[in-house]
Subunit: 449 residues, 3 copies
């Protein structure tokens, strides 16, 4: 079920029942207020935990770039979170949850711009709490891009890309599903907390960016891949744990309610499954790297294994058993380990490994949702009350549509930037490092050789 449907249902349950009076009406109100408070509180706490993922991406990405670009990478992460917040307020939210739609739900028509919260008991939660919770998700998508295109992208061009990603591209994708649009109504597409909507969207934008911007100077010589090791592995490890921490908010609060027996059980199960998927991702990545690389275990593979496992469970963290969650996450970890060298073969330079973890595992996690439901291999069909069931076909349509549209729109934005402002720094600046060239502030002025 989509976010939009859940919200609509909760809203409906909160409408005062006409014809009831006196005590009953008051009890109804008290119960509605209580549920309203609980849901809003969940959005705020959940959103706060997800907001902290911005710090996780900061640590992960600053730790995995070379020291001459770490100051710039820190700046970009703070800046992108700011741009995402601004644009999702000005434009994005109204497109993601549109006033109306065109082209059968493909295009969301925004209502009043900029978004303004109007609080009503009927909605079931404080409007600002919902905005806050949604905003931190769009920031996550933007963070994914920043890691892939690090060490050579121009600061302002990158931020302008983030403007388009967070104002138009991501919100359009979200409108198809959580906004109740095309994928939700026509295909029964199911993506609980955003394996596709958030992580693959960020991943496609990153992939197209990496291709258009090109690899870092000196990364590929013919068939040879020149390793450019990250400058601060403990910082990257801290970032991994911060992301892991934040994911409990990401998945847990996406249940959208925690005030009933069923809801709190669901949130609890989501916590357990989210953790187990990360566990599976870490251990599978560690074992596989040990096997592939003569016993050596690359920590960055373990970190990306955790993230890959978390992305994999995000599309459906509730339905699987805990063993299923381990397995889903483990496949994610394997995909990370196998995809990282594959990208290098294709000479696609993904500095932090965001494409394997977010895009590839996002696809995997979204597909496997169908296995949790009956009739999985059947084409999508409406059930007795008109809801479309989850199927591999429906999931695949969502994955492909997202991939095609996000890639196309991202390519347009990146290409326009390329021929106007330019998307990458000069060779001299890249050689010197973005810190000295563009910020004037070195990340570690006393350490770096």
């Amino acid at each position: 079920m989509s976010l939009w449907m859940k919200k609509a249902m909760r809203g409906a349950m909160m409408l005062p029942l006409a014809g009831m009076a006196g005590l009953a009406a008051h009890a109804q109100d008290a119960s509605a207020v209580s549920a309203y408070v609980d849901s809003s509180y969940l959005f705020l706490i959940g959103g706060l935990i997800v907001m902290f993922m911005a710090a996780g991406f900061l640590c992960l990405e600053s730790g995995l770039v070379r020291s001459k670009n770490a100051s710039m990478q820190s700046l970009k992460n703070v800046a992108l979170f700011s741009v995402a917040g601004l644009m999702f307020w000005l434009i994005g939210y109204n497109i993601a949850y549109p006033a109306s739609t065109a082209l059968g739900g493909i295009i969301g028509i925004p209502g009043a711009i900029p978004w303004s919260g109007e609080e009503s008991l009927d909605t079931g939660y404080a409007a600002s709490s919902d905005w806050f919770f949604q905003m931190v998700f769009v920031a996550t998508a933007a963070s994914i891009v920043s890691g892939t295109v690090a060490e050579r992208v121009k600061l302002w061009s990158f931020l302008i890309f983030v403007v388009f990603l967070t104002a138009f591209i991501y919100p359009t994708v979200v409108s198809w599903e959580w906004g109740g649009g095309y994928l939700d109504s026509e295909w029964g597409f199911s993506d609980f907390a955003g394996s596709t909507l958030v992580h693959s969207t960020g991943g496609w934008a990153a992939l197209v960016g990496a291709i258009i911007i090109g690899p870092r100077a000196g990364k590929y010589f013919g068939e040879k891949v020149n390793p450019m090791p990250g400058s601060n592995i403990p910082l990257a490890a801290l970032g991994t744990f911060i992301l892991w921490f934040g994911w409990f908010g990401f998945n847990g609060a996406s249940q959208l309610a925690a005030g009933t027996f069923d809801d709190i059980n669901a949130v609890a199960k989501i916590f357990a499954n989210t953790n187990m998927a990360a566990v599976g991702g870490v251990l599978a990545a560690m074992i596989l790297t040990a096997v592939l690389y003569k016993g050596k275990v690359d920590p960055t593979m373990a970190f990306n294994g955790a993230i890959g496992g978390l992305v994999s469970i995000t599309a459906e963290p509730l339905a699987p058993t805990m063993g299923g969650a381990v397995a889903i996450g483990a496949v994610g970890g394997v995909l990370v380990v196998l995809t990282v060298p594959l990208l290098d073969k294709l000479k696609i330079d993904d500095v932090v490994g965001a494409i394997p973890a977010h895009l590839v595992c996002g696809i995997w996690g979204t597909l496997i949702v169908a296995a949790s439901y009956g009739n999985a291999f059947m084409p999508p069909a409406a059930d007795a009350v008109g809801a479309i069931g989850v199927s591999y076909v429906g999931q695949l349509v969502g994955i492909v549509l997202t991939g095609v549209v996000v890639s196309a729109l991202s390519a347009i934005v990146w290409m326009v930037l390329k021929v106007t402002l330019g998307v990458r720094v000069s060779e001299e600046d890249e050689q010197l490092g973005l810190d000295r060239a563009d910020t004037g502030v070195e990340a570690y002025p006393e350490f770096a050789s």
Copy 2:
């Protein structure tokens, strides 16, 4: 409305209504307990989130000092949080929320020392939860000082200053407003979560300290300013995000209640506005530095822009629209960028930029509160029920009184320390670095040149 008034009102609403009996009384009790639990829970969760700001200051300050002093700066941050907790328990809390007052509310007369929590349903919240929430605010004020006077202040002299700041100076200022004293009752001064009470108080104490202690050796040569870049920018960036994260607790939980339709809407709006002010601060600081410094964007300006924006919205995070919050934060970001070089002109050596972010933006944020209310340019006057309205005059009185009293008391403490223990380390030790001189433990023994 002051914290004190809010508390009194909530307490009053919780008093069992005389004359009601049986079921009604039980319902009353159940409702009072429920509100008591909710408020206490909010204080604990909010306080916990604010407590984590101590880690944010640690990262920011340790990242912005040179590596030879980073171990000492880490130690100071852990130590000051400890001293603040101890003194606010022994003395501070009882002065901030005094048993009685003298001199028309200027001087708070503490009750029992040390503070002991006595739990009563009538207060509306668990006494210890309130103490915890208040304690993490005083620690914030102390952290501000530590950043400004870094790299040359003596450890124990600094900690003794923190003793006085957290036991007497900060609590006195707080008593005027949140304690229901002079500024609240006479001037209608309004400072929701502490732009003046917390941030300017820390800022004034830091400013006076910086002047009395003097700049770091070699910082100023005639008109020339010798840059002393921070040693670990990614760590400072992480500190910025941790502070940003903590600010949701700082401002959000300062609503003091979240259990009703109006309260949760307020908390949600505060979350959204708090974020937007930081966004405004970051982007304004980035754009202005790019303009002023030939396209180069100093990350530390962006970080302090975030903090400046957050400080600016702290005095009134609820009343502004989201656009207003962006604007208030953006002005904060501009003030940071303009004030940092101004301090250098005045040869006031503020190592981490705490005075621009906390003092200057604290003044700005407190003043602009008046714009959110009617009659803003009128002198303060009592309304029909005797409450004093918010006005520029009243806000200015609070700003000036805080500045004069905190500066004077801080100057006395710093001067007494200067002529007794001394406030700064020897030239040799400063040259060598505080880490080797005073801790015997280098921050990065294997890296630093």
Copy 3:
């Protein structure tokens, strides 16, 4: 009272009272659901906060090892958290909370394997929320070991040890007390949040490991101790604050309920006391090191003082006054400062100081619980309703039994590993550093000399 008893009591209170019907039954249900939601929510939020301690241990340990092993130490911390989660799901939880017991409660007989949550209103909380909350505690125990045996233990041997620790050793100890077994039923042993069960268990396993694995090459020359300073003190400081933050969840949520007047007051008091114990630990450690070491204050002693204070209050964070909490924590800080050189005298190489902070302070904190109760020096006796009172004798029995059994089982596992896979890396690899030898990824490839 043990966790088990608290749970049983809460479960009992939630059973629908037979013979009540209609409205009363519905009210009963509503109240039971509300308590169920509150408790589950507390477990999830508390567990999440404790989960973040994994990041704290990561920072502390990665910061306190030499840079040539920091990448490996980061990897170990991510890996151990994964192994702990996997094993506590597969085996550990069912032993800790056994279906039945043998040998008078010494051996827990697990029920269905692997653990699967079955949600029932009668239990009083969501099964998965309890599992999650318990799981993050076992991970803490494993983190303690990882710090002590750092810089020379083999990765896979360490992880296999963690398998046994988290699947069998820790769960057996927990079953004696929180599982309602031998120590709880026979001795009135009381350990609120795990000074012994979690911290000493980890500490004993670490101590035995350090002895069997032996000290780092070059650490001890005859009577001479070769200092091997940590490579990143600010990171260790951040780890300390993260642990401090996490401890509010560790102790606070161990109240297990927060929905009543008494419970929320207890949680609030636990927050205040937990903070004050850390305060006492920091300040005592700082003052004592200044006295012992000619005015120099070792930051790592202050950090371990905080942790020592926190461990000391963990066995009973509710009963002491705030002054008592300061004193209990201060003794912990003193014990840390005195025990660190003692271990070096014994040539037991504890890289991060985990044995003083977790084992020694765990013993101290557990013993002093008896002082908070009457008849403390009497042998344990049953009260009117058959509960065994808390006594020094009972506490000592718990401490000794835990020490003997954990040490013996740990010794067996470490010895078997030693004679099979081997427990330490080759001399060459140790010299080279584990990062280059075993991970192929240096922690700071551009910085280290």
